[in-house]
Amino acid sequence: MDRVMRAALSRRNLLRYAGVGGLAGLATPSLAQTTIRLPLPGGPDERAITTAFPQKGAMVLQRTRPPLLETPFEVFDKGVFTPNDQFFVRWHWAIIPTSVDADQFRLNVHGHVDKPLSLSLKDILALPPLEYAAVNECSGNSRGFFQPRVAGGEWGNGAMGNARWAGVSLKSILDQAGIKAGAVQVRFNGMDQPVVPDGPDFMKSISVDHARDGEVMIAYRMNGEQLPLLNGFPLRLVVPGWYATYWVKMLNDIEVLDSPDTNFWMKTAYTIPDTPHADMKPGQTGVPMVPINKLNPRSFITNINAGASLPVGKPAEARGIAFGGYDGVKAVDFSSDGGKTWQAAQLGNDEGKYSFRQWHAQFTPAVKGDYTLMVRCTNASGEAQPSEPNWNPSGFMRNVIESTQVSAA
């Protein structure tokens, strides 16, 4: 039944073009062969599916330059690990090296340290390895669902992914360099460059204590392979349980700071209201803002799309993924009556506290009519998804309980 239902839903949501002749100015036939509806309130919600990007398979095209590529949502139904070739992509500036020589590459560590370092990839591969699963989610994942709408990358729910990351602990590198007394933050810079010479280079910082927690990783491997260039080859910072903005790609520079980082990307961009769920009212002023930080819990139904029709009186299975954000998944609850009653979903394998976790639940639509399916994740710290959506002007940290409207006939 699942397969039939998915096929029907896939026909509903994928509008196949007969050809590309109707679209002017297309130089690459592999762009815009297919489109998908995300769907976003008020539109535009149609996006091309592209296979034009190197080392990437079919992706939802949000922006060509610098690339913003979203994971097609059906990928999340296939398992808890997101394949590298369909892992989402997000760059801030368009000057991205397209060629990286593995022998010439160096990671520099400098600033408030005893001994500056310049490490080759061989040096890094020789250090004790570390591996764990972790969700990487864009701060603005699901921004397109904000109401009122806000400007920015108009993502659906696919600016997230889960991978097994392998690399070395950031702590081991910082210990080699020797952090001097008085250090407060560690700043990370990648090889991408502003297009405008005086534009702000993309850099992110975390506290020295966080940097030395033994979990933050300099990753050279993702799901058993080297990273695709667009996901940060050769090295990317992995900050488990924190938003992807901190997971600096093509990381080649680490600077230990003796005063708080005031660069644009910490002080102004990627800041959130310092309120529960980073929530505020449109137009509200005087709200204290802080740098975005920990991931919040979320969960999704991955096998039933909005508008699906289910047979009355027959058991149906809902399944999907959940993540606890900064802590593990404690429970996933499912409702088929719009949140009036909830049942505990069964949880799949535990791949670690920062990973996606599969869940499934059975329900039987007893009578003809409309049903609102909902799923809610509660993490091990007791934080549950809220029933009302948050709002902030940057469209960050959406984690409202998802609702899927279906009918039974």
Binding site: P54, L61, R65
Partner: protein, 110 residues
């Protein structure tokens, strides 16, 4: 001997308790050389198209604009100001109204 067994048991217990497994021996990393696709979408015609093409598309492709929701003129003024002040887009004062006119024409309230 007894101590060694105890130590082994402790190490085994610690390994099981930790979500962070030791990775396999690392593979060598291979150099990468790729090509990124060029822009394929174009901005629609409208008043101020030339100003928008000349200034907006230097840093990002048309898709950034085409995927935006409809927003009031004040929001487009704020976006253009952000591009100039924060991202240092070299846009002269005299070109700002034409860009805002264009964005409001194609992405303003219906």
């Amino acid at each position: 001997m007894k101590r060694r067994i105890l130590l082994s048991a402790l190490i085994a217990a610690a390994a099981m308790a930790s979500p962070f497994a030791q990775a396999d021996a690392p593979i060598a990393l291979k150099s990468v050389d790729v090509t990124l696709p060029g822009d394929t979408r174009q901005l629609p015609s409208g008043p101020g198209l030339e100003a928008a093409q000349n200034h907006c598309l230097a840093c990002h492709s048309a898709g950034m604009i085409l995927t935006q929701p409809r927003l009031p003129r004040a929001s487009w003024e704020a976006e253009v100001a952000k591009m100039r002040n924060v991202y240092k887009a070299p846009v002269d004062d005299k070109d700002v109204p034409a860009i805002v006119d264009y964005l409001t024409a194609i992405k303003g309230p219906k």
